[in-house]
């Protein structure tokens, strides 16, 4: 696998260039670039406040003045297009005088509270005032205006969001926060109020600044007007150092900078990378570093002694593990050992895990997909094929048609979501979203098609049939037998079953067929569905008819969910690996088990039978986040021996005989492979917490206790990883239309409501519960409910709601939980979303391994 993703191969026309002279230097820039762009390209310093590389220039602050020959006025370089033969001066007397006047204007009412301002040391105003504002005498004669929080208060600071504090006195009204929120994120929760000199930046009336991207607004504020509650007064910025890091949660691979001192990491900020993130990061990536410093971390190994978990040394814990693993292996054979690893761990750890099981213990029972059920068992599944397609995040921004199916995109891929917005606003691209629920993408979609629950493949088959009927399918694909391949097999029947009209399907198909560079995305609602293979086939058919899988244009993929899912796929952390992967691993591991392995589903049923006896769960928490709480719990309870390694105690560690403490991504050097197959390194920002170890080291200690060694030194482990990544080829296949038969799910019982379990807006998986900043946004497990349903049931945000499982006579019947209602302004209809991020509320007790849609009943609990 190459470390950069394949960009879509468009022939770039020769770029038209413009030549101009800046400060006597001849410079050539792309046509359309601004004078400021030209200066930046040549590292000629020009001060700015309101300019941002990813936002439209508005020319508000007027700090970036330059002098241009033949123009009588000073020009704002950020909003003046570079033209041929322009003669520009950036540091003339007139420029400096103009900039000085601006600094003087800004300082007129700006408080001189730098000593107590959190921005001190990284403030654009401090820097620019130092460079341009100095003069011997002040012309100010008036008291500075002071804007206080409200009439009844003497405080300047106002909390306008869960993590955002505003000090209006310091605001220089560059409007970057408001502009970024609208332009880049499509959010309207911060705005400018009042007029002129009285303008204030504030949360929208009655609300808070609480979008998934809110932290970016603080980051781009040039002064200390917006500060983050997390960082305020923690440390002065000049006492910190930075290290590069990567979003450890999402598969997007947004680039981060960690700010640390000798003791610990204090914050994370973006580190602009146009390929993945454009410098915007989700709040989860921003505040997620707090898993490193959380009080809830496990600090020492724990061993179950007579029913109580007791802190022990690594030696003692390893002694127990090696003794029990050996016992099981000797008495029952290696295939009774199984391992499950989290795709949020780094590449070295994943590989060491594979090596421990396959190379040292001799078991092929490894998997990284414990969040999902009904996994494909054959190596050339269509799901696997579509999940391994190459994909470029940045190419999304230049796609002319984007088609998203079965994905709550903003929650699964916050950065891909922003790229779709960029495509729409910069390229006027078309976005078609097809989902069983309304998502945030709705507000920028050309058409948001809501199909009936559990009819994902029917909708896709509708698109397939429409492409064929309209004569828009790729001519080289044989569509002759289509009637026999699909059920239902006419467009009309598909439309009727999925609930999206023929006209809308036709329109979408037409637009896709006419697209030059389409992007097709399938998300978690597909990969998490038990019908995933069937849906994947339908998705494949559409991509085939558009010529995408044959490489003729565009891109299509089922997107990987976690930071390193793609790495786990390339390193082969699942039983159904390809022959090439097997060959490379065999070569690296010396010994390799012959017997085919059990995947996660098979491990669970094997544990309830006689096949699986001991298990190592590494960083994963299936009891909380896997489908079907009871089934998973029962399986793990049936084991003879269970070891769980994690950062924190979880419902899964609660079942363990031994618990091992893992270090977080901020405590060691490692790398993740993002959903594009781009491998990016992250660096340690602090010492490891307590006795915790990075995964690879913990695994090597386990191996050593069993008489093996996984690596002599880390570079040899790294070399093996690189070899696997380099030699990994996504599966290829002969292309022909696949069969996709739809079976209608059983009708739900009366009064029951469909429910999806997944991530809350500000959480990801089970670790973010440790991040106090994210708890400010989503403090507990919520039941998201549409405004319409809420009003019918007389439920308001914050009400307690009893949720009861409704599965006829099957497994989880009778399960109930009390959740806090959260009335969503996005959801529509009856579908509920429950957050699976909180150990106290295992909402997966409502989900099942054998039906596509889970149904529950809900009752409001009346306050006493």
């Amino acid at each position: 696998m190459s470390d950069t993703a394949t960009k879509d191969q468009k022939t770039t026309p020769a770029v038209e260039m413009v030549s101009l002279t800046i400060d006597g230097r001849p410079i050539s820039v792309k046509k359309g670039a601004t004078v400021l762009d030209a200066c930046r390209q040549e590292n000629i310093p020009v001060p700015t406040f309101c300019w941002h590389p990813k936002l439209r220039s508005v020319g508000a602050c007027r700090m970036c003045y330059v002098e241009i020959e033949k123009f009588p006025k000073l020009m704002v370089s950020c909003a003046t297009e570079a033209m041929n033969d322009m003669v520009v001066l950036t540091d003339s007397e007139k420029c400096r005088e103009g900039r000085k006047a601006i600094i003087e204007f800004i300082l007129l009412d700006h408080p001189l509270d730098c000593p107590t301002c959190d921005k001190g040391g990284e403030c654009d105003l401090q820097d620019n005032a130092f460079e341009y504002g100095l003069s011997d005498d002040t012309r100010f004669a008036f008291r500075k205006a002071r804007k206080i929080r409200d009439k009844n208060s003497t405080f300047d600071d106002l909390q306008i969001g869960p993590e955002m504090v505003r000090n209006q006195n310091r605001c220089i009204l560059c409007y970057k926060c408001v502009r970024a929120n609208e332009e880049a994120f499509g959010e309207y929760d911060i705005g400018a109020y009042q007029r002129g000199h009285n303008t204030e930046i504030d949360a929208a009336p009655g609300g808070q600044v609480a979008s998934l991207y809110s932290g970016n607004l603080v980051e781009i504020c040039p002064v200390g007007a917006l500060t983050s509650s997390d960082w305020r007064y923690k440390i002065r910025v000049w006492n910190t150092q930075t290290v590069p890091s990567i979003d450890p949660y999402h598969a997007d691979g947004a680039n981060l900078t960690l700010w640390k001192d000798a003791t610990k990491v204090h914050r994370a900020t973006s580190r602009m990378n146009d390929d993945t993130d454009d410098g915007w990061i989700s709040d989860i990536a921003r505040y997620g570093y707090q898993i490193a410093t959380s009080e809830r971390r496990i600090k020492a190994p724990l061993v179950n002694k007579n029913g109580a978990m007791v802190e022990v040394s690594w030696e003692e814990a390893l002694g127990v593990i090696s003794r029990r693993f050996k016992e099981v292996k000797e008495s029952q054979g290696a295939p009774c050992l199984a391992g499950v690893v989290s795709p949020n761990l780094d590449l070295k750890t994943l590989h060491a895990f594979n090596k421990l099981f396959r190379g040292a213990l001799g078991s092929n029972n490894v998997d990284y997909r414990s969040d999902y059920s009904n996994l494909p068992t054959d190596a050339d599944s269509t799901y696997g094929f579509m999940a391994s397609r190459s994909f470029s995040i940045d190419a999304v921004a230049s796609s002319d048609v984007i088609f998203v199916v079965g994905s709550n995109l903003i929650r699964e891929h916050p950065n891909v979501h922003l790229k779709t917005r960029r495509a729409i606003f910069e390229k006027l691209s078309w976005l078609y979203t097809a989902n069983p629920i309304v998502t945030k993408s709705a507000d920028c979609s050309t058409d948001e098609m809501i199909y009936n629950l559990g009819t994902d493949e029917v909708f896709l088959n509708g698109v397939t049939l429409s492409l064929i009927q309209q004569g828009l399918a790729d001519k080289e694909v044989d569509t002759g037998k289509i009637e026999t391949l699909l059920i239902p097999n006419t467009l009309e029947k598909c439309a009727e079953t999925c609930g999206v009209s023929v006209e809308r399907i036709n329109e979408c198909a037409k637009r896709l067929a006419n697209s030059k560079s389409p992007t097709l995305i399938a998300g978690e609602l597909v990969s998490n569905s038990i019908a995933r293979e069937n849906i994947a086939k339908s998705f494949y058919n559409v991509a085939l008819l558009l010529g995408i899988v044959q490489g003729k244009r565009g891109q299509a993929a089922v997107l990987a969910k976690a930071a390193n899912s793609k790495g786990a796929e390339a390193l082969g952390l699942f039983p159904e690996i390809s022959a090439t992967q097997t060959a490379t691993l065999k070569n690296q591991f010396q010994s390799f088990p012959e017997l085919a392995g059990a995947n996660w589903d098979a491990m669970l049923s094997g544990a309830q039978g006689e096949d699986i006896k001991a298990m190592l769960i590494f960083g994963a928490n299936p009891v909380q986040t896997g489908a079907d709480y009871n089934h998973i719990k029962k399986s793990l309870e049936s084991l003879d021996f269970l070891v769980v390694a994690d950062l924190k105690e979880t419902p899964t560690t609660a079942l363990a005989d031994v618990v091992l403490p893992l270090s977080s991504f901020a405590e060691y050097d490692g790398s993740f492979t993002n959903l594009e197959g781009r491998t990016q390194d992250f660096c340690a920002g602090m010492k490891r917490i307590g006795a915790s170890l990075p995964g690879y080291e913990a695994l090597n200690r386990i191996a050593q206790s069993l008489g093996f060694s996984l690596y002599a030194d880390l570079s040899s482990l790294q070399d093996e990883v690189s070899e696997l990544l380099d030699s990994y080829n996504a599966p290829e296949r002969k292309h022909f239309l696949m069969e996709s038969h739809f079976q209608a799910p059983p009708a739900p019982q009366e009064n029951s409501l469909p429910l999806f379990a997944g991530d809350a807006l500000h959480h990801f998986g089970h670790w973010t519960e440790m991040c106090h900043s994210l708890l400010e946004f989503n403090p507990e497990a919520a039941l998201e409910i549409s405004a319409d349903l809420a009003s019918r049931l007389d439920i308001q945000t914050g009400d307690s709601v009893r949720v009861l499982c409704d599965r006829g006579d099957k497994g989880n019947k009778g399960e109930k939980l009390i959740l806090k209602a959260l009335v969503s302004d996005i959801l529509e209809g009856d579908t509920l979303l429950a957050s699976h991020n909180f150990a106290a509320k295992p909402v997966n007790c409502f989900t099942s391994r054998d039906s596509r849609v889970s149904y529950v009943r809900i009752e409001k609990i009346e306050k006493q």
Binding site: V58, C61, R62, F105, L108, A192, G196
Partner: protein, 428 residues
């Protein structure tokens, strides 16, 4: 040159507001002629030939502006009538909206046709309760009589006119801010380029014209561009409305041929200054124009001559200040207005107007220092030409002119250190 009533010809006829009355006076002939017998280019050529220049303040040639709308753009186009009239002293558009709304509608329709627009907006100042009521009724009337709507006069051309009322911001008269406001955003001016003709309302080609500009258009079609040129001067063709206010015996709206002298407006139309007092200063074109002095009273009222005299014709709002006027106080009133109306987007305008207000207020309060005068002048020059839209210039220019022409008044005021109660200086 003297008074000539083209636009104000029927202000005394209450029936003229209705379609019936308007048609009886020859109305809607031009619109019918355009739709049945003219091409878009022919309309634009006629308007260009007339030499008509925008009456909203900037005096930009109207036909030329229309011709900037791209012919090949796949986007819809919009015509917007600017009826946000909020400049202190200006009240001419109001009279047209109240007394001749059908002419405004007809002008809007012809302008819309010339740029291929099927949707025209009238953005009316929010405080204009009565003009809004009259105009909305007039639009309804025009629809009812087939002058607006679908398939007008059976030619297949559709046109809708929508009235939008502002929220009471002077800045929303500036065209880019107006379009922001019309689209539902905060009314703040935008950098140009892109110009509205290329990227305006909702990012689509848009022409913004002043009420008076549009009201002239039917006359051009009926009588021809060349006919219009027979009025006024070579470069400033036609007639123009002047709103005469201040220390004057008969304030009001007067329509003069361009090039008529200021003296004619003041003495013949306005009946001179009360009690025969002397003139101290004249603001010829609205609050944003530099002050002129009494000795410039013979300046002709056309774009060029007024510019040569160091001021601007602007919107034609002529404010007379007599010899009793405290110039410092007048400056204060002006700058305070601009401070209050600055949209707050760009630094020099937002901060500069506030600072100037503070300084002039301090002088008024008898606490000024002589160095304040140069400071004020310098601050004005840090605003002038450095802002996004002309509001900054509008604030700076009159103040600069005052300091230049009435510096001694400031010096005296500062030296005297007296605090005079403000009420004493109200206009009478």
């Amino acid at each position: 040159m003297a008074e000539h009533k083209l636009l104000l010809a029927h202000t005394d006829d209450p029936q003229h507001k209705t379609v019936a009355g308007y048609v009886a006076n020859g109305g809607y002939r031009a619109w019918r002629k355009v739709l049945t017998s003219m091409t878009r280019d022919e309309v634009i050529t006629e308007v260009k030939a007339s030499g008509l220049r925008g009456r909203g303040g900037a005096g930009f040639p109207t036909g030329l502006k229309w011709s900037f709308v791209p012919k090949d753009s796949p986007k819809p186009r919009y015509l917007v009538c600017n009826a946000d009239e909020s400049e202190p002293g200006t009240c001419k558009d109001r009279v047209l909206l109240e007394c001749d709304p059908q002419a405004v509608i007809e002008g809007m329709a012809i302008a819309a046709f010339s740029i291929g627009s099927h949707l025209a907006f009238n953005y009316i100042r929010g405080e204009f309760d009565y003009p809004i009521e009259v105009f909305e009724k007039a639009v309804e009337d025009a629809y009812d009589n087939g002058h607006l709507g679908k398939n007008i006069y059976g030619t297949g051309y559709d046109l809708d006119v929508v009235t939008h009322t502002g929220g009471g911001a002077y800045i929303c008269g500036e065209e880019t801010a107006l379009l922001q406001s019309l689209a539902g955003h905060r009314g703040m001016s935008q950098m140009k380029p892109p110009f509205p003709a290329v990227e305006g309302l909702y990012g689509c080609p848009t022409v913004v014209n002043n009420v008076e500009t549009l009201a002239v258009v039917p006359h051009l079609i009926n009588n021809g561009g060349e006919w219009y040129k027979t009025f006024g001067t070579e470069k400033s063709a036609g007639t123009k409305l002047f709103s005469l206010t201040g220390h004057i015996n008969s304030p009001g709206n007067y329509e003069l041929e361009m090039g008529t002298s200021l003296r004619y407006l003041i003495e013949e139309m306005g009946g001179g200054i009360p009690e025969g007092r002397k003139i101290k200063a004249i603001i010829p074109g609205g609050a944003s124009c530099p002050f002129m002095t009494a000795d410039q009273i013979d300046t002709p009222l056309d774009y060029e001559a007024i510019a040569d005299a160091g001021s601007m014709l602007g919107s034609g709002a002529c404010i007379i200040l007599d010899e009793r006027t405290d110039i410092v106080w007048a400056t204060y009133k002006l700058i305070k207005f601009f401070k209050h109306e600055s949209c707050g987007k760009c630094t020099p305008c937002r901060e500069g107007t506030k600072w100037l207000t503070q300084l002039v207020e301090r002088i008024l309060n008898g606490e000024g220092e002589e160095s304040d005068i140069d400071k004020i002048d310098n601050i004005c020059h840090n605003i002038l030409g450095r802002t996004i839209c002309p509001l900054g210039d509008a604030a700076a220019m009159p103040v600069i002119s005052v300091i230049q022409r009435f510096r001694q008044d400031f010096v005296d005021r500062i030296k005297a250190k007296d605090v005079l109660p403000m009420e004493q200086f109200s206009f009478n």
